[in-house]
Point group: C2
Chain length 331, copies 2
């Protein structure tokens, strides 16, 4: 049995999802020889620390009832700096202006030779090259499948299952909020505002939906693909972005009459990164409905390989983090 | 640079595809630190052997012009037994009655501690447990992504990219010949015989199409999934199979009028293995057209994850073999 001491830095929906998944999958992980021991958890205000492993169930309960994880007044950054552990799960909120706490946390982890698995797009969309260099210097493993498609594997599909292939293009739907709104506008012939309101009511869209509906979230994901798969050193400011707020039910109806749907498509290859609404034939693999995500990878040997899955959700995103954790430490 | 000495046993479309891919990907492989050195190639009648590495281009040319690979009168089995090498690529034809030469080849490889990567379904659909035990005893690595979906990754998707998830059900289209015939019958409102003839003319169907159109090929693939993902010890005789030969254009039209397509669907979970035509809603992720394959994996954490790709083809199948090779030897 290999014991991996780890911290969870950021304890919102995704961080809590990771804790839940670790509780649920304890037996499974032991069967593959892995004992992930959470020695510290930090939210934005407090922390829980125990070098023998914190009580995940108790902390989840405390977070839900009291809104905090623990008694300690210690920051995530201090935990990463001072507590002995091998793996940092970085799940603080995405900040695409400065990279936010996430960037500092990751750099500190690499400085101390710790591995990092993250769902936090901000630092990767802002400072990819700097992060890779720091990870290299710390001899740290760095995985971020969860940043691109939630439970829909894209990076690990490209790197592992399609190893040996050269990926020449990636396009797809990488934002479930936009897909939900467009799918519902089409079904109901209803205007954008009405379906945005419905999405907000059902929890598919944030109170301030700008980040999703203006295509910024998709742009960040395309930047991560551009850097990771195509070896660019791009930031989200290099992306041409158009959102979905100007799409009308009339446009959708015209498309439908010609056998098309309109989707917010992100596309990236070695010479461009683009995000905008596109016409997609209704029987095309990219024409998936509801809030699903889809990615189509064009490869030199295998032709096109398309994968569809849930792009968001607490447990789904935690599942991508868990896959990365297993892939790092499994013998 | 890690040198891996390997043999290619069976030099039909897939074996030749492997040779071509090794030539094309030499630089790529060197960049990831791998030098695959082919020390022997055998077809059903002859062999080429050189412990310093055979000339792949010359052998491909000889095979295409003279129909044989080389001067030696040595069988694949003798090569596996007597030539020093680490990896056997087993690409002899599938035989689902006895397991064929493939079964003997694989068992011999394991007896000598060699790793095996194969596209040959027969042995795996007949003698899964025996093969796993032999691989274990030989401390050999054994990979067979190419047996299930050609260039569509299923096994490695389940084991790597979705690691940590429990797969609860797999269903999909695993035979491109059947999908082509059904897609075309639907488009042309034409009878089965006519579209079979077209598929044969275009090379999408064999002269004797029984193995594909009666669902036997799909059944073998379901058995491999049942054994590999669900821990069964099934053979293709455990599968309830119905083929596509009795489907009429009228049935397809009735389905179409109700918003459905008819597809040959294989389905497997921990309590059943089934192959037969099914109604699929036209906007369902499994409703892919042409000769594409598709697999939908139901998972406990990630929900449904669906992957679409080319299920057959010389280079596509070789690409799945290459991914397995890289995943075994990459550091």
């Amino acid at each position: 049995m290999k014991t991996v001491r780890m911290s969870i830095i950021g304890f919102g929906a995704v961080g809590q999802g990771v804790a839940r998944v670790l509780i649920d999958k304890k037996e499974y992980l032991e069967a593959v020889g892995l004992d992930f021991r959470v020695v510290a958890i930090a939210d934005s205000r407090t922390a829980a620390i125990d070098k023998n492993g914190v009580d995940l169930t108790a902390i989840l309960y405390r977070k839900q009832t009291e809104g905090i994880v623990g008694p300690e007044k210690v920051t995530g950054l201090e935990i990463i700096k001072e507590i002995d552990h091998e793996l940092v799960i970085e799940t603080t909120p995405t900040d695409i202006v400065t990279g936010g706490a996430g960037l500092e946390n990751m750099l500190m982890a690499f400085k101390h030779g710790r591995d990092v698995v993250t769902s936090n797009k901000g630092p990767l969309a802002m400072k990819y090259a700097e992060l890779m260099e720091a990870a290299d210097e710390g001899d740290s493993r760095f995985r971020f499948e969860a940043t691109v498609g939630g439970a829909m594997p894209v990076l690990n599909l490209a790197k592992d299952a399609l190893a040996g292939n050269t990926i020449t293009n990636v396009e797809g739907i990488f934002n479930g909020t936009c897909n939900y709104i467009l799918s519902r506008m089409m079904e109901e012939h209803a205007p954008y505002d009405q379906m945005l309101a419905e999405a907000q009511e059902l929890g598919f869209a944030e109170t301030d939906p700008t980040y999703d509906v203006e295509g910024i979230d998709t742009a960040c994901k395309m930047v991560i693909l551009a850097n990771c798969i195509f070896g660019m050193n791009a930031t989200h400011e290099d992306v041409t972005v158009t959102g979905i707020t100007k799409i009308t039910p009339e446009a959708l109806l015209l498309a439908q009459n010609d056998g098309y749907v309109i989707k917010l498509i992100g596309e990236v290859n070695d010479s461009m990164i683009n995000v905008g609404p596109k016409l997609v034939p209704v029987d095309h693999p990219l024409a998936v409905g509801g809030s699903l995500n889809v990615a189509s990878l064009q490869t030199d040997l295998s032709g096109p390989v398309t994968v569809t899955g849930r792009g968001a959700g607490s447990i789904e995103t935690a599942s991508a983090i868990l896959s990365d954790m297993i892939s790092i430490y499994r013998e």
